[in-house]
């Protein structure tokens, strides 16, 4: 047995002191804040879900790299991911699992039915739920205190789309008068068609025909031929990705060239996959949709991150990036992972560090008041904002022929 000399004891004491002192180093000690990210990454909506998840991941990585939540001693944000499997029941089950894991808040959902069910499940536990896309106006009209939507709702988007259409048409000397509406027969397409049928005649347009098609559809030749026969000035499609791509390609092959294809919340027209894979069919297609603010230098950074991950540039990524940043700001101001405090912080949020063209956030009954859709147009293989003028980086090319 060796004797313990004074030097050894001193060394030990020093080490002990260092150990005790180490909590002063904040990043090593603050417990992580768990954030639930809910996206449909399998099933029919997998493309959107994957890109939404990517946006959330970029935001979380950025926040953690910048030192986490400073008001909580540099607490890191930890993702608890849930696959909503493209149906509301699976979304609800994932919310229950996230509750079990003790998340501070949930972001995502994508489709309206998933958002409706998941936010309601989260409401039982007062989990703040931030809807990323889901445009159904019901989402924020149920009086749920926990539910917030950063992006615009259906009503706001469609009225903007109609107003913008009239302005673009007027500026070009009113070349367009007749319209054919093509829509998918689900929640989004038929709702849109009904609204357009009511509103377009009031604004001086004549609807020649409304063509409904199911999702999925494997052939759009009949729809295209009908459009050729009617020869409208405008085609307004409200369809998901696959069906619209098919329609645009068929119209291109059959040389059906209306004065414009003016889409509203279209699944493809604001999607770089479509623009990259079918540039000729995509050229000059207009869309009124979610789109990030190109003037914000952050937008280019997020886009570069998305491309580095080998992904296309879709609106899901900037919307989810912005939503997670907004939530992180609320947690920062709440200074706590307490759900009620985060809800309060979201209610008083004036966050401007996002990359959407909305201005500072302001929630009234869960809806971000500044949220708005913009008009995009595919020009020269790029997606440009053509309207409103404040955000535009190109002039609309209208009529297209």
């Amino acid at each position: 047995m060796t004797m313990i000399d004074r030097r050894t004891i001193l060394k030990g004491a020093a080490a002990g002191a260092a150990l005790v002192a180490s909590p002063a180093v904040p990043r090593a000690q603050a417990p992580a804040v768990k954030i639930g990210i809910l996206q449909p990454v399998t099933g029919a909506l997998a493309q959107d879900g994957e890109h939404g998840r990517l946006g959330a991941e970029i935001a979380l990585a950025e926040i953690n790299a910048a030192g986490g939540i400073k008001s909580m001693g540099g607490a890191r944000l930890e993702m608890v991911f849930g696959d909503a499997r493209s149906n509301p029941e699976a979304g609800t089950q994932e919310v229950e699992r996230m509750q079990g894991e003790g998340v501070a808040a949930i972001v995502g959902g994508f489709a309206s039915p998933i958002c409706l069910a998941a936010s309601q499940a989260a409401a039982r536990y007062d989990i703040p739920y931030l809807v990323d896309v889901g445009v159904s106006d019901q989402i924020v009209k149920r009086g749920l205190k926990n539910t917030f939507r950063f992006g615009p709702g259906f009503g706001a988007v469609t009225s903007a789309a109609l107003d913008n259409l009239v302005k673009i048409n007027d500026e070009a000397g009113k070349p367009a008068r007749t319209v054919v509406i093509v829509h998918e027969d689900g929640l989004f397409g038929s709702g849109m068609a009904k609204l357009l049928q009511a509103e377009l005649p009031k604004r001086g347009f004549e609807i020649l025909e409304t063509v409904a098609h199911p999702t999925p559809s494997r052939d759009m030749a009949n729809v295209a031929l009908r459009i050729r026969a009617l020869n409208p000035d405008l085609v307004i499609p409200s369809s998901y990705y696959g069906e619209f791509v098919l329609l645009a390609r068929t119209m291109q092959q059959q040389r059906i060239r209306p004065k414009a294809i003016y889409a509203v919340l279209n699944g493809a027209a604001s999607n770089f996959r479509f623009v990259t894979e079918f540039p000729a069919a995509a050229e000059l297609v207009m869309d009124c949709n979610h789109w990030p603010d190109h003037r914000n230098p952050k937008t280019a950074q997020v886009r570069a991150e998305a491309q580095r991950a080998g992904k296309f540039w879709l609106y899901n990524t900037p919307l989810n990036y912005s939503s997670v940043m907004l939530l992180a700001d609320a947690i920062e101001r709440a200074g706590s992972a307490d759900r009620i405090k985060i809800i309060e912080a979201l209610n008083s949020s004036t966050f401007a560090g996002h990359i959407m063209p909305y201005g500072p956030t302001k929630f009234v009954e869960g809806q971000n008041q500044g949220a708005q859709a913009v008009n995009t147009q595919v020009q020269g293989g790029d997606i440009k904002i053509v309207f409103p003028a404040a955000f535009a980086n190109a002039k609309p090319i209208f009529p297209a022929r």
Binding site: V41, T92, G186, G191
Partner: protein, 333 residues
């Protein structure tokens, strides 16, 4: 045979049911997390739909691909009676179940009277469900494609329970009742006639069984039980649209579970649902903890592989395996 043995024989089928009920009732004590309780509640809803399907297909041999029609009828009736007519859900429940039974009777009347059997009957039921789906998607009364939201009003009087375990126990009550109904049918004259129709319809008719009448009774019961599952679903999720209520997913779940569990048995649908959904949830949770769900859909691949194995090694379903094992033990004794 002693009197005791006779009594045991008579009680046996009921005793196993009571034992299962007791066992299932204590499950929430073992799995207390809200995720587990939510999952168990969902299992009960699907098991109830599967029990309904099993009455018609398992005992009567009439394979339906369209039980979504009954499920959706129950779900929509439950939701719309509350939202549009302001009915209390406990009053809406019997009306919705009766409507489900009526839908069963109507579809059965139209297809059995026309002499449709086998795959033709299956296709017609599929078409019925699709017609309902399209109607619910298009009509303003059902909320169209936007669906219906049942307002969140937590309270036992509103059939909405603050505690997930309570919903589970209520749903379990329905499942046990449906299993008891199945047992009653199994042991009744009607049940014997139904099995006779399944085994050989011509022979049954030759023996004086009114086959159309028997089949109509079965599809009415089946429709009512599956509609009850729809009612429970409506109260559980509080949101319906045409694809949820009348979509093919529920038709598939309702038929897969009894086929995997054991066709024409009392316990088959429940056992099948537990295996089917349990595997799905189990693989998802396992891969989520192992990989942080880095590979989307990997759980579905594992689920598919396990399902193939289950069906390959248990062609007569879980109840077939149980019966085989019981016979082996009995033989060894």
């Amino acid at each position: 045979m002693t009197r005791l043995a006779i009594r045991r024989l008579a009680c046996g089928p009921w005793l196993s049911l009571a034992a299962a009920a007791l066992l299932l009732a204590v499950l929430p004590a073992l799995f207390a997390s809200s995720a587990a309780l939510n999952f168990l509640g969902f299992v009960m809803v699907i098991a109830l739909a599967a029990l309904g399907w099993n009455l018609l297909a398992g005992y009567g041999g009439q394979f339906s691909f369209g039980h979504a029609a009954f499920f959706g009828m129950g779900a929509y009736a439950m939701a719309l009676l509350q939202v549009r007519l302001g009915l209390n859900p406990w009053l809406a429940l019997p009306v919705a179940v009766a409507l489900g039974g009526l839908t069963g009777l109507a579809t059965g009347f139209l297809s059995f009277r026309a002499g449709l059997r086998g795959s033709y009957f299956a296709l017609v039921t599929l078409a019925f469900a699709e017609v309902f789906r399209i109607l619910a998607n298009a009509m303003a009364f059902t909320g169209g494609a936007a669906g219906v939201l049942v307002p969140l009003r937590i309270g036992a009087a509103q059939f909405q329970f603050a505690d997930k375990a309570t919903f589970y126990w209520v749903a379990l009550g329905f499942v046990i009742a449906a299993m008891a109904l199945t047992r009653l049918v199994e042991r009744s004259r009607f049940g014997a006639q139904l099995v006779a129709v399944r085994e050989n319809e011509e022979a049954a008719r030759a023996l004086g069984v009114d086959t159309v009448r028997v089949k109509l009774k079965a599809i009415t019961l089946s429709g009512a039980v599956t509609a009850a599952a729809g009612c429970l679903y409506a109260q559980k999720s509080l949101y319906l649209d045409a694809n949820i209520a009348f979509g093919p997913w529920i038709s598939v779940e309702a038929l897969l579970a009894p086929i995997i569990g054991g066709l024409g048995t009392v316990f088959g649908p429940l056992a099948g649902t537990f295996l089917l959904l349990g595997l799905g949830e189990g693989t998802k949770t396992l891969l989520a903890t192992l990989t942080g769900s880095a590979v989307p859909g990997a759980d579905l691949v594992l689920f598919g592989a396990l399902l193939i194995l289950a069906v390959a090694f248990a062609p007569r379903g879980i109840m077939g395996v149980v019966a085989g094992a019981a016979a082996r033990i009995g033989g060894a004794r």
